[in-house]
Chain length 120, copies 4
DNA sequence: GTGGTCTAGACCACA
DNA sequence: GTGGTCTAGACCACC
């Protein structure tokens, strides 16, 4: 795993975990890897993972039980919001890419429909 | 710049240059940086750039004039096709991402329209 | 327990015991811990406790029976006065705090009423 | 300065700074001591101060300008809210103390009024 | 100079 | 074992 995108490593890890949760790789209520295991897996310092987990907890995406571990939230509403946010980000960056390629915002839905039909 | 995506570096450079052309950073008929300059800019071996330019020429995206340098094609149809291909790739990977987030192919155009409206 | 408030330790202990009596942790007529036990509990020299007990006796808050130990006074009037004094101190320091936060002496009772209502 | 209240040091520092702001010792827009100076002053590690400042920034009580320092927020509404919160905490703990001394919640405003009158 | 991030390694409370 | 805190010391970007 590389972390040279310019963003702080702990933020990048937050994004990775959010993606895993939003896409269902990590499920509602599931235990995350321990701070130490995650640190070993991603080859970063445990404090960095700690910070990532802390940030996720602040956002109520995960919760921790002392001595037990860190878990994906049980609250469905937060998970839905998370998916919505990630989708919105994906859409926005996609649209920016498309505009850079010379397409107009408003014609994009139509182009997508075409592409869907082609693929069928 | 990192080139550790697994793909051969020369292919990655081909993609970078195609993106620059498709987005208009490099314009129709414009001279590309010399092999040597490009190698310096991307911190790779000049032979690698040479190979990338060769590939681009094979695809008629650029053409070479001995002693003058390498230039973006003058043929509008090729540029259009290039943009179309890049757009199609973007759309496909975007749709895969959205499906992973739990959205159905067919509902995506509608979601995009909503997001456009929100952003206004 | 820390005793680094600047005040003599024996005075601080007098205050601790008065608080325990005023709040009913130590009841009317109840035996106080022996000097030796109290010294162990608070991790101070027994002579210090001896001095604190002496001070409390001087104020008629406790009385000593040779060979039996030290006891909270039986006189209700002294206990009432003790509570009144502690309340007055609490009120004064509370009001100073509130004034420092920018509240006027005279508006404080009203603010408290509001807070009581909120808490209901 | 002692930090053995059981609470994490960084939280205690957050409280100290909030008190300084709420009581006007630190004014609207004023620069806080640098992380390093504060660490020296309070004899803790700079990272601990960093964490405290980060927490305060998260709560919008302060903001930072890279290379310039950390400053008390300019937003009056946040400062008002801060004072309100600190007052509420003071009131609640004061009332708990008074109840422990045998006074009823509802009679406290009256007792305060008496104490004010006595002091005049 | 400022804050921001990261690593290394320690100790603690909780279970 | 788990997460939570703290220290020490380094390097970075920005001003």
């Amino acid at each position: 795993m590389n972390f040279d995108s310019g963003l702080p490593i702990y933020i990048q890890i937050v994004e990775i975990i959010k993606t895993r949760i939003a896409t269902g790789i990590l499920k509602r209520g599931e235990k995350l890897p321990s701070v130490r295991d995650m640190a070993t897996e991603l080859k970063v310092n445990p404090n960095t993972i700690q910070r990532s987990y802390g940030e996720l907890e602040r956002e109520n995406v995960v919760f921790t039980q002392r001595g037990m571990g860190t878990f994906v939230t049980e609250e469905e509403s937060i998970l839905e919001e998370l998916k919505g946010n990630m989708a919105r980000e994906k859409i926005i960056s996609f649209m920016e890419d498309m505009e850079r390629l010379g397409y107009n915002r408003d014609e994009i839905p139509a182009i997508i429909k075409e592409t869907i039909l082609e693929g069928k």
